[in-house]
Assembly symmetry: C2
DNA sequence: TTGTAGGCGTTATCAT
DNA sequence: ATGATAACGCCTACAA
């Protein structure tokens, strides 16, 4: 039996409604009254009941974070999204509920939105063509995305700038003198379900390589060592002159290393490696420490929440959609250097 | 304007209360009536309003996950906790709010519990002496812990069995023939604030080594490569005969590798390494692939929620506290082998 | 087995 | 500037 608003009102000798107004500032309250109310609140240790407040006011101060658990599992980068989003939400006085909805289970999402529990949603791991997005639009739930669909229209999103990132990766290697560069992407299945990073990085790489007028080769590759190993051998068979490799597939990297051992190549002497869109937290643990294009994960999470709140607080007014692409940060490690003189 | 319960009632030609009872099964409803109600619900796409339900029934079906963001950052293991907890909560029809409360900010926690928003809390990253625990007890909020305080009393918890895990690590090495084993722990600061794993693994290691009658040496070590490198040199200075190293500090490992390079040692020929309480997801990326004692992270998360729900649903009846210690799984990699014949 | 009505703790619309 | 008082949508004795 925690104190209720009426208890505060009585103790401060004012009406219930006055307390309510004093708390959420919807109308003027005299300084003296406000003081008495505050005092009463402190003495009672009063805190407004979130449910009652929500029921009456039609907004709950609760946001949902929609994250599917992808086949490849969740890593450090995803954790950073989550932490960034959670922090940002808290700073704005919002709660964040974690909603591990599988993409297939549209039911779960309907349930979530139908309960009237959330004011909006932040959608993670958005696919090129994502059911959840349609559903949220229909449901009229405010939402924003980390990642984006093929045609985001007027939907707010924050995403990694894959175009820029691949260009930076290629640029770094070209500057070092490389003229034949490989790209090891995520799995064929990620590509075929339209996983955004896989698709966009693929396009970006081709374009960047073409622009730099560099010989290039790409492989889709399962997220495991064996696949990485096989893929590298294939790439080398296709392009024997390969001297550098961009990898957007952390777990395949070690397989590449194994492949290099087999042919007696060393990093970066015989092959430069750049790890794209992975956390330095992880790539620093590899030897040699990998040159990395590190995504602004925490910032993306924060930005996602920010966009969402702008949307909610901003009312239904016609705002321009906020759509931002953030670059990855190039962290030069010991895995990239000049090409060998073969 | 979503449909309300009264709409369902009218459409099914029954009283409002009958719908309510039909939904939450608090009293018998005839099969025919129930059928009509269900049909009406389907046709209207009705879903009970979570807030109204909570306000009236005094329980919200919302749980909180309390996770501080430790100095060393959050990794794969922590992510797995979270995913496990979120999944388990969803399966039981509960929502999970992520509450990134810093340990220092007891205010945030008070706010959370005072709002009447949550039915209970799962506390992550529990310290030997943790303010949050006291606060939750005072607040009368049901909660359980992943990890445990020095004296958990009757509080439910699930934790890693560090005693067993260190014993397994030492045992694995002793079986291979090692007689002088080092232990690289987390940072001095983690130890001094009473971070459970650091403290308990330290004790466990000493005991296991003593029992196995093995020469041993331990170092606390910052979570970074440089610290790991320095620490290994120190250990070797203290125990030149060291042939094996147990590490509970993922980020220090690469520093150890660097140190080994400096003295021309190889893994596992000159030194065996076992990584304790880290995800194989990470240790598989190292070369050689590390022998690992992998924590049952997802299971711990699930278990934490399970305990919490038992507590909540079980009512205030006197239950025996559920306190479980789970072992890590030994995954043998390529980093451990027989000691060198020096 | 079904219906009636009084809360749950706020917000917000009326007055005053 | 402040007070009363309907909602908000549901749950649950209590009555029938």
């Amino acid at each position: 039996m925690p104190p209720r608003m009426i208890d505060v009102a009585r103790r401060a000798n004012v009406a219930l409604s006055t307390v309510s107004y004093a708390i959420n500032g919807q109308r003027a309250v005299s300084e003296e009254t406000r003081r008495r109310i505050r005092q009463a609140m402190d003495e009672l240790g009063y805190q407004p009941n979130a449910l009652a407040r929500g029921l009456a006011s039609k907004h709950t101060n609760i946001l949902a974070l929609l994250f599917p658990t992808p086949e490849r599992g969740l890593g450090v980068t995803e954790m950073e999204f989550v932490v960034g989003a959670a922090d940002a939400a808290r700073e704005h006085g919002y709660h964040l509920v974690l909603s591990p909805s599988e993409l297939r289970n549209v039911r779960d999402l309907e349930q979530l939105t139908g309960q009237g529990l959330i004011d909006g949603a932040l959608v993670m791991e958005v696919r090129i063509d994502d059911d959840r997005v349609q559903l949220l639009e229909q449901a009229g739930v405010p939402f924003s995305m980390i990642g984006r669909t093929s045609d985001p229209g007027r939907i707010d999103y924050a995403d990694i700038d894959f175009e820029q990132t691949t260009r930076d990766a290629v640029g770094h290697l070209v500057e070092l003198g490389h003229r034949c560069i490989g790209f090891l992407n995520h799995s064929p299945s990620a590509f075929s379900v339209g996983y955004g990073p896989t698709v966009r990085a693929s396009e970006g790489f081709r374009r960047a390589a073409a622009t730099a007028d560099v010989v290039h080769v790409e492989r889709l590759c399962g997220d495991n060592a064996a696949a990485g190993q096989a893929a590298f051998h294939e790439m080398r068979a296709a392009q024997p002159d390969i001297t550098a490799l961009i990898v957007m597939n952390e777990r395949a990297i070690v397989g590449v290393m194994d492949a290099l051992d087999e042919i007696g190549w060393r990093v970066p002497d015989d092959l430069s490696i750049v790890s794209m869109v992975s956390s330095t937290r992880v790539t620093e643990m590899m030897r040699p420490k990998l040159t990395t294009l590190e995504p602004p994960s925490t910032q993306l999470g924060r930005l996602g929440i920010q966009m969402l709140l702008d949307q909610i607080d901003g009312g239904a007014g016609e705002r321009a959609p906020v759509q931002e692409l953030l670059p990855c940060r190039l962290v030069i490690g010991a895995s990239s250097g000049p090409p060998p003189a073969r």
